[in-house]
Homo-oligomer: 414 residues x 2
């Protein structure tokens, strides 16, 4: 019996990097040649295993190791990357899944207790069309077809036309939903993409769920006025009110416990050196794992914006850009994940995920879900310097495999 070989996973990740990356990082943007190359390479990796392999109607690739029971354990990841991306984001999940399939196949002589399916989601990153979680949201049923139909890349090519190029019929992508039949649990390993585990000096964490997000544009409306002739107390300075929001969101986030708030952009009009700012538009991104806490953060920001507008003789308008509810993961699976980590490296940690992941879509579709995070050096992702220590990668594969085993036992009892 060939045991789990986490070193092989690290070696395969390096092979993939050599094949599909360049000096600027990973280049596996979904629906490009390099992405197709990565997927072909992936199929080669498992050609010795007795897997049923097919692409679903949304372009997600499913690798199924049939088990004694038709109940399914799903393991997910994504081969696609952002342009100039990191070498681990998405593909670590997939290749750890491959290693688990190998171990299960060898251990059970081809037939594990439950059916185990690895899925390579299509276009998790949304790098080309600006819409992330494409394949998993098609599968979960959350994808808004009317919106997605209109998406264009920077060359003006529409998403349905790009999909046709790779053999996907846009109008039928939601038929991929049937893949979730018999799914009893979904597991996803991912690099953290933040500095929490680095700061704690811990290799692994059990993920409690993905943050809910409230994303708004806030525009303060004042009055343009000459920078030389307008006394300070006569100004209706839209930048001043917008600026007051910045320290305020730090206070709001602190009050919320574990929430985060970000002002990521600021546009000042007329935006010239000799005029008081008439209109100032900022974007506010707020995230929390708890729906009530998220709603409180949003309300606090609204109240603050109205106060600063009043103080400055301004008006303020809010436009919702996007929102998604928090997605708490399954408590039973979180506990199993915690156990698997403690058994592997002694100490675990529980944390929410700020970024979204395919796991949120699967959870939203009603499948019990959990994720495991591995420490990210520099706390950075979506960048060629994204990295994780090799021993942490190996621990991640080991712990994730233990979690798979525990999940199989958990499913059997259902």
């Amino acid at each position: 019996m060939s045991a789990l070989n986490p070193r092989r996973t690290v070696a395969e990740l390096k092979d993939l990097r050599a094949l599909t990356g360049d000096e600027n990082g990973a280049q596996r943007v979904a629906f490009t040649k390099t992405w197709l190359t990565a997927r072909q390479w992936l199929r080669k990796r498992v050609e010795d295993l007795p897997l049923e392999i097919h692409n679903d109607d949304a372009g997600n690739t499913w690798f199924t190791l049939a088990g004694a029971s038709p109940k399914c354990l799903l393991i997910g990841g994504h081969m696609d990357s952002v342009p100039n991306g990191g070498w681990l984001d998405g593909c670590l999940n997939v290749l750890a899944g491959v290693e688990i399939l190998r171990r299960l196949h060898n251990q059970y002589g081809g037939k594990p207790p439950v059916t185990v399916r690895l899925v390579d989601w299509a276009d998790e990153e949304g790098a080309r069309f600006g819409k992330s979680l494409f394949g998993s949201s098609a599968c979960s049923g959350n994808l808004n077809l009317n919106e997605a139909r209109q998406l264009k890349d920077k060359d003006g090519i529409k998403l349905p036309d790009a999909l046709r190029e790779v053999g996907i019929d846009f109008e039928h992508v939601k038929e991929s939903r049937k893949e979730l039949e018999n799914a009893f649990a979904y597991l996803e390993l991912h690099i953290e993409q933040g500095p929490v585990l680095l700061d704690l000096d811990l290799p692994l964490a059990a993920v409690l769920g993905t943050f809910g997000v409230e994303r708004h544009a806030i525009t303060f409306h004042g009055q343009a006025a000459h920078s030389g002739s307008t006394p300070m107390n006569r100004r209706k300075d839209a930048f001043l009110a917008a600026a007051k929001m910045s320290p305020e969101i730090y206070r709001i986030a602190e009050r919320s416990g574990n929430g985060v708030c970000t002002i990521g952009s600021c546009m000042a009009k007329p935006g010239i050196v000799t005029s008081v700012v008439e209109d100032c538009r900022i974007t506010l991104d707020q995230r929390h794992l708890d729906a009530t806490a998220l709603a409180t953060m949003l309300l606090d920001a609204r109240i603050a914006s109205e106060k600063y507008a009043r103080e400055g003789n301004l008006t303020v308008t809010w436009d919702r850009l996007w929102q998604i509810d928090p997605c708490p993961f399954n408590n039973g699976l979180i506990n199993l994940c915690d156990e698997a980590i403690r058994e592997t490296c002694g100490k675990s940690h529980r944390m929410p995920s700020g970024p979204l992941h395919d796991a949120a879509e699967v959870a939203a579709a009603g499948v019990p879900t959990v994720m495991m995070f591995v420490q990210s050096l520099h706390g950075i992702s979506h960048n060629k310097i994204e990295d994780t220590k090799e021993d942490h990668l190996e621990m991640a594969v080991t712990a994730f495999d233990k979690l798979a085993d525990k999940a199989i036992g958990w499913i059997k009892q259902k």
Copy 2:
């Protein structure tokens, strides 16, 4: 003897508006056909007076009423406007000067005690090439020829080529300096372009000088980071530091007495909703009539920016965009201006000018100078809604004429 007729000035301003404005405001942009039309119309207004009229090497038009003495009193204004400008900015000055020339000619039978010269400066606004005070800075000698030679309009036409079109040889513009020979005083009337007189409910003010200006770009350098995965206490948020500058400049201006500070633009990079701001560039415009106070304001802003950078684990860099020293006007002429106003409407006010004016160039060239401001309704200029009550316009012409008389007496004693 025909007395001063301020109503005629108001009527002429309306005629000029009808001739050179449209539903969006005044369109007398320098070096355009409409500007040339306005200047031709101006020459028509004075054709009955025995004036020597010529354009100097910088395109400024001089109307000279020779006096008993070669000592000159100068009265200045500008016919050019910004696109969609106000109906009074610049041309009120010129037409009040025309009315004074008429009164002096009639009173003295063509020969006042000193020579009186009205100048219509070329391109005060700098609307086309982004460089204001062109004609007066050529005349004062302050114009930087190497910089001005490179200026282009939005169609890529260079300033020297545009000047050639209207008969001006760029390489000789500074020869206009000789026009200031024998200049013993310079007077300029202008609409306030701010709300100070409106707030005080006063029609007129004596201007103490033009503010010195320090204009800088301040860039905070932080670290881009994912808005979902980066805890608040791990951020290097360049927008946060830039935002803290906004309330701070209000405190700095307040401490300075009469100074003003403006953050007019803000650019955040990468400027996306899902990232902490890595670089944030704001522009800071600071103005004060007192050089020491201006230097203190600048130092205070630098110290604050470094403090906010330190607090946020950021760095900050400053780039000077432009600066000009304060230009205090002549105390003797300020007192005469104050007298003329009090004699006209009972109560005067003294205030600095935030915006620059041609008067600052003339003063910098060593000519004793003063300006008079008339109240601006709405406190707004460079806009079609710019306006002043007609009785205030008439008072302005009357008081300005009194000032001219007082200045003539003042010059005679020199």
